[in-house]
Amino acid sequence: MLKYLNSRRNAAALMSVLSASTALMAQQVAAAPGEKPSLFYTDTTFVIVLLLCLLFFVIAYFLYRVKSHLDKMIDENVEGGRELSRYDKVVKPWLKTLNPTVTALLLGTIFGLFAFVKAYKFGITEVGVQKGYSPTQPIKFSHAMHAGKLQVDCKYCHSTAEKSKQASIPSANTCMNCHKYITLRDRYNGQVSPEISKIYKAIGWDAETNTYIPNYKQKPIEWIRIHNLPDLAYFNHSQHVVVGKVVCQTCHGPIQEMDQVYQFSSLQMNWCINCHKERSVDVANNKYYESLHKRLKIQGKTVYTVAENGGLECGKCHY
């Protein structure tokens, strides 16, 4: 590959390969199934802005050429030339005093730095950050209805949040605890709600006879995962929910008001760190911290943050 770069002709070939691969990649993105454009980032707006920029640039360029042509004509046809503008009198001679190389380098550096800072900021705040990500799920499950209006406890469905690393998405048999009976036939002309019947289809429930279909080939419901921590970070729900006594909404936002769930927090490391710096550990009510609590009392310390307890150390989450 490197060898190819050595000749100019091959560089051109390489460019075409690169563009072809970009196109391929773009196709791949388009082919990703079941995905809806999210709130924060769409391809179309980006392309339209790009095209508009190009258009304005072309118009400006043409106007400039027209103007300079007219200026030239005035200079040739009118005696004594046209009246010199302030630009011609002051700026132009000054510009001529500048060394073109130095100026170009200076401007280039300033522009480059500016672009770099912008790109860096974009890189760390936008790339891979899915805040606001709200894909359409295979079943139009409404948290606003279940958790908000009906006041079903979060942990009824996300039952392992207090026990395990994962809060876990409920299995279909958990849904069936209620939806054996709740079919919403009254709203769908005597038919089972199409969304509820998706559960029945997954688990094999015959809504007419109210029985499970024997030997049914069950198919799991493929929910789209919204909160994607990278594999290099270890997060444990039970640590935060039970030990840290953090309520679900702290990280997941007003979930009881969401019809379609979106990612509320950025899930970036600084978001984790900030919380660890602010929140205090409840050392008084957990026997695990008994000796620590005693010592803190002697020191007269009342607030003991997660960070002070080692919550900022790399090896607490990355291993």
């Binding site: 490197l2 060898k3 770069l5 390489l14 690169l18 691969s21 970009t22 990649m25 773009a26 993105v29 990703a32 199934p33 079941g34 890189g123 790339v127 899915q130 392992t160 026990k163 395990s164 690393k165 994962q166 876990s168 998405i169 409920p170 299995s171 279909a172 048999n173 958990t174 997954a202 688990i203 069950q218 198919k219 799991p220 419901i221 493929e222 929910w223 789209i224 995962r225 994607n228 594999d231 290099l232 270890y234 444990n236 039970s238 640590q239 039970v242 030990v243 009510n285 957990n286 026997k287 695990y288 008994e290 620590l292 307890n309 080692g310 790399c314 090896g315 607490k316 990355h318 291993y319």
Partner: protein
């Protein structure tokens, strides 16, 4: 710094060979071959401005393009119906029995979301008492072996329908039985009551059936000797824990002999000098074994002379006891005073001593029995009543079977998980015989040498997919339960046997069948499956009467002994690979042999003396012949401690039919075995060798990561220790620290203690760590380049034993005096990251990827690491490993990380590292975090033992202790204050969190002190 030259890792170090001296200080084996790579593509390293801009532009655009890809859509797919006892994200443990060998150790299988990912020992097992060995640890990977048979085979072609096969097989069996043709079931030693019952059902249906027991490794010498001596054809239970004096003739009871985990657990109970006493362990052997390295006194001995040694020992003891000696002419002074001394000590410890022998010779074993009877060891250290069922193989039965097969008397053969075509010494005769049979069935789960010749292959489940019961010792029942549904279309062998005997399918189901067998008492079954163990009260031990005539035995020994000292070839088992049945398991090949530190190959071990006289050098390829069989092109390894005039080759290699890892790896030594006096002989006289002129570089790790002769190991004799428990530890380094001390008072301070006196070097910790921490397998070529990835390694140090050698400075060692290498001592030192308080690695990392935690852990953050390797360079223990390649999803590393099945063994709590990062021991931080969390969740204080690292749980000798040093009552806090505890390289002032404990040998002090004084 004073250079302590007492210890050396290999002959190249002892002799200070120039090549070794040149490379030992290098961080890497060789300079990076950058020039070479670039020259290969006609590029030189110099580049002009234009090139630079091109590369720059190319990289920028490539990065930009790569960044354009959007985050892929991920799914979260829950169960449809969640099994009640599974909590996603939490592990479940099931008690079961290890199937790595026939010892029947109890295990706990750790499963995550229904897939087994780790084996730990079961504390309730009276045999293994919570420990495991390297072979057992690694056996979990055989479950996820992509080379397992996915379907049954008929004439080599896949046949998915079991029912079709069953009807064909049953009709063929019925035909054979009705025509009065013989049917044989060849099975490895079975100690399962249910399986034995199933065999009876089969015999009832087909009356011409006989069951033939076949094991690749034979202990028939012991079985037959006990029959001759006591009328009981059994292997007794040995109690090494009750023995104050142990004399072993070649028996590698800590490594490979009968039940090594059980024996290690027992042996180590008398190896703590705290009470001022240690057991005394003599080892007479020809090839340096794991047990030999741990003996107090190890005497090199030609294996053919063993009988003579035993007679001398008998006579010496008889002299002391005042009983009749065996009148034998050949009773010379052997091995200096070792026999005399051991006899004296054995006699002094009458009833609390033990003599064991590896020999498979009936006469030798009878004489061993005679010695033990004379010493009154029966009923104390040897228990014939509660005997072992771990091996029942007697050659005569199998020889008869092979003869019957050749004569055409046997028409149907069923091989139950046994592979004699590979491991039988006269394989070609067996293969010819099998051609005469009408029906050959194998239940092997891989296409091995035997199943390759079978008309039907009905693959058995892996033991982690099976139900089972076993009685490895009389009255000790160990249960097996499945921890995963069968991965492939396989069926348990017991089920196949039952179905072929006409048992209805429901009854033949392994679970139903075994449960019914235990139905007499319903409470037994549920508890037994929960605990994995069910114990019947032990029989009362009595002293048996000895019936053998030792005079005849002795004269037979003298007659059989070789008259002249010709060179002899010893065939032995290696720790890990053992008999070769798990040859396709990359973990077993990647872990270095505990003695030679060679990975991936077998070789001829040669003593330095022999090598010099024959002009052999390390890595020479030779052809070696003995007893009419020749192995061509096998590399030479010069092994210190090898008895002069002996060669040794390990079994378990040279598989011609195995998976991608095991196939054609090393050379097969089974054909060297021969039957002598009815039992398999593991030594062969009249060896001839010829050099080929070629060489083959063995992947040997022994001098990788060498610490340049610094004072690493401390050892003393028991007498010295009793006079001064601080011996060798008196002068603690007086340290002035330039660094600020860390405050560890907030929570925990983790620490580890490693008892050099207990560590046998078996390698269980290495494999356990490998599994727990997703350490990649790198393969032979990478090991040659010192790129093995093990987070924990066991350094094996030699030192000279003979007093003359002690008085010689290492620099003055005369290379001509090769025989000083025959007598050596060994220390095993496991080394992992020492988690220094003032870690040198932390201060040099330019990106803060390695940092210190408030709990004393030296943390490694892979996602920060940019791979400068400064930390590895600055680490005095050389425990940091650089990850050179993307080992997962990479077909250049074709082991288990590149296929979906093999990846199922990955521990989901530990990151799979990518290339270009440093990695190292984390003190199993995932286990620490899990242990802390469960205490916090329950709102309780942490208990000692809540957190154990993977190495500590696996260790069969309790040599590794892990715990919280802020807890004054924890075992680790106590060990930290122990007189024997010291830090490796404490003079450097880096304050490691790991302490080592001085090795105390039960030997006369003079031999250890001369060097130091």
């Amino acid at each position: 710094m004073e250079q302590n030259n007492q210890y050396w890792k290999g002959i190249e170090e002892a002799e200070k060979q120039p090549e070794f001296l040149q490379t030992r200080g290098n961080e890497f084996h060789e300079a990076l071959p950058l020039e070479e790579v670039l020259n290969a593509t006609d590029l030189d390293l110099s580049s002009n401005r234009r090139d630079f801009l091109k590369f720059f532009g190319f990289s920028v655009s490539a990065v930009a393009l790569a960044a354009c890809q959007k985050t892929p859509v991920k799914y979260a797919i829950p169960y449809v119906v969640k099994p009640q006892n599974i909590t996603p994200g939490n592990a479940n443990y099931y008690a079961s029995t290890c199937g790595g060998c026939n010892s029947g150790c109890g295990i706990l299988v750790k499963t995550r979301e229904g897939r087994p990912i780790k084996l730990d020992g079961n504390d309730l097992s009276p045999l293994s008492k919570g420990a495991t060995c390297a072979t057992g640890q690694a056996s979990i990977l055989s479950l996820y072996d992509i080379n397992r048979l996915a379907n049954p085979l008929k004439e080599g072609k896949e046949e998915k329908e079991w029912s079709k096969l069953d009807s064909e097989i049953t009709s063929k069996l019925a035909n054979i039985a009705s025509a009065n043709g013989g049917i044989r079931i060849v099975t490895k030693t079975s100690n399962s009551p249910s399986f034995d019952k199933a065999l009876i059902a089969f015999k009832t249906k087909y009356p011409t059936t006989e069951v033939v027991v076949y094991d690749p490794i034979s202990y028939s010498g012991i079985l037959l000797a006990n029959e001759k001596s006591f009328g009981k054809r059994v292997i007794p239970s040995y109690n090494f824990d009750k023995a104050e004096v142990i004399v072993s003739f070649g028996a590698d009871f800590l490594g490979t002999w009968i039940s090594p985990v059980e024996f290690t657990k027992q042996w180590v109970t008398n190896r703590n000098p705290k009470g001022g006493k240690l057991s005394k362990h003599y080892q007479f052997e020809s090839t340096l074994s794991l047990t030999g390295t741990n003996a107090d006194i190890r005497v090199p001995m030609r294996e053919s002379k063993e009988g003579i040694y035993l007679i001398s020992l008998y006579n010496e003891i008889a002299k002391l006891a005042g009983t009749a000696q065996l009148a034998v002419s050949q009773n010379a002074e052997l091995a200096g005073n070792a026999i005399k001394n051991s006899a004296k000590e054995l006699f002094a410890a009458k009833g609390k001593s033990l003599v064991v022998s590896k020999s498979n010779n009936l006469n030798n074993q009878t004489l061993v029995n005679g010695i033990n009877i004379m010493l009154g060891n029966y009923g104390t250290t040897i228990d014939l009543e509660n005997y072992s069922n771990q091996s029942k193989f007697v050659e005569a039965d199998f020889e008869k079977f092979v003869n019957d097969l050749s004569s055409g008397a046997v028409k149907g053969v069923i091989f139950i998980n046994s592979n004699p075509v590979y491991s039988y010494h006269n394989s070609s005769k067996l293969v010819e015989g099998l051609k005469k049979a009408n029906l050959v069935i194998s239940t092997s789960d891989q296409n091995d040498e035997t199943s390759d010749l079978a008309g039907y292959v009905c693959p058995d489940n892996h033991f982690l997919e099976s139900w089972g019961d076993a009685e490895p010792k009389l009255g000790v029942y160990s249960f097996t339960q499945p921890t995963i549904a069968p991965v492939f279309n396989t069926r348990q062998a017991i089920e196949s046997i039952l179905l072929w005997s006409g048992t209805p399918a429901v009854e033949a189901n392994a679970y139903n069948y075994i449960k019914t067998n235990w139905a007499a008492d319903a409470t037994i079954w549920n508890n037994a499956i929960h605990d994995g163990i069910y114990l019947k009260p032990a029989s009362i031990v009595s002293v048996p009467s000895f019936a053998a005539n030792l005079i005849d035995v002795a004269s037979a020994i003298v007659t059989d002994a070789p008259k002249s000292d010709t060179s002899e070839l010893i065939i032995y088992q290696k720790v890990g690979v053992r008999d070769g049945s798990q040859a396709n398991n990359p973990w077993l090949h990647e872990v270095p042999d505990p003695i030679s530190k060679v990975c991936y190959d077998n070789y001829v071990s040669v003593s330095k003396t022999e090598a010099q006289s024959k002009g052999l050098k390390q890595d020479d390829l030779i052809n070696i012949s003995a007893g009419g069989y020749t192995i061509k092109n096998i590399p030479v390894l010069i092994q210190p401690g090898q008895a002069a005039g002996t060669y040794a080759i390990a079994l378990g290699y040279g598989r011609t039919q195995s998976g991608k890892v095991g196939k054609d790896l090393g050379k097969n030594a089974y054909p060297f075995l021969k039957i002598a006096n009815g039992t398999t002989s593991y030594s062969n006289g009249g060896v001839s060798i010829e050099t080929t002129g070629d060489t083959y570089k063995l992947a040997q790790t022994q001098t990788h990561h060498t610490i340049e002769g610094r004072d690493y190991i401390r050892e003393a004799s028991l007498d010295e220790y009793n006079k001064n428990p601080f011996v060798r530890n008196e002068n603690k380094a007086d340290l002035v620290s330039l660094w600020q001390e860390y405050d560890y008072s907030t929570g925990h301070k983790w620490g580890m203690a490693i008892d050099l006196n207990a560590c046998t070097g078996c390698g269980a910790c290495v494999v356990s760590c490998h599994i727990e921490n997703n350490v990649p397998v790198v393969g032979r070529d990478e090991v040659r380049l010192r790129r093995e990835m093990h987070w924990i390694r066991i350094d094996r140090y030699y030192s000279f034993y003979s007093p003359e050698a002690y008085l010689t400075k290492e620099d003055d060692i005369e290379k001509e005096k090769a025989d000083i290498y025959d007598n050596i001592r060994v220390v095993h030192a496991p080394v992992m990251c020492q988690h220094c308080a003032h870690a040198p690695c932390e201060t040099v990392c330019p990106v803060l990827a390695t940092t210190h935690s408030s709990e004393g852990i030296n943390q490694m953050t892979y996602n920060r690491c940019i791979g400068t390797k400064y930390c590895g360079n600055n680490c005095p223990y050389k425990v940091r490993r650089f990850n050179w390649f993307r080992y997962n999803d990479n077909d250049a590393f074709d082991y288990h990380f590149n296929n979906d099945l093999g990846k199922m063994v990955i521990n989901p709590d530990v990151t799979v590292r990518t290339r270009g990062v440093m990695e190292k021991c984390s003190f199993c931080v995932q286990r620490i975090q899990a242990g802390k969390l469960s205490a916090k969740r329950d709102g309780r204080k942490m208990q000692d033992g809540d957190v154990k690292t993977a190495c500590a749980t696996a260790c069969p000798s309790n040599a590794i202790v892990f715990g919280d040093m802020n807890d004054p009552n924890s075992e680790i806090s106590k060990l930290y204050k122990n007189e024997r505890s010291y830090h490796m390289l404490e003079e450097v002032g880096i304050k490691p969190s790991v302490v080592y404990m001085t090795k105390i040998r039960n030997v006369e002090p003079s031999k250890l002190t001369e060097k130091h004084s």
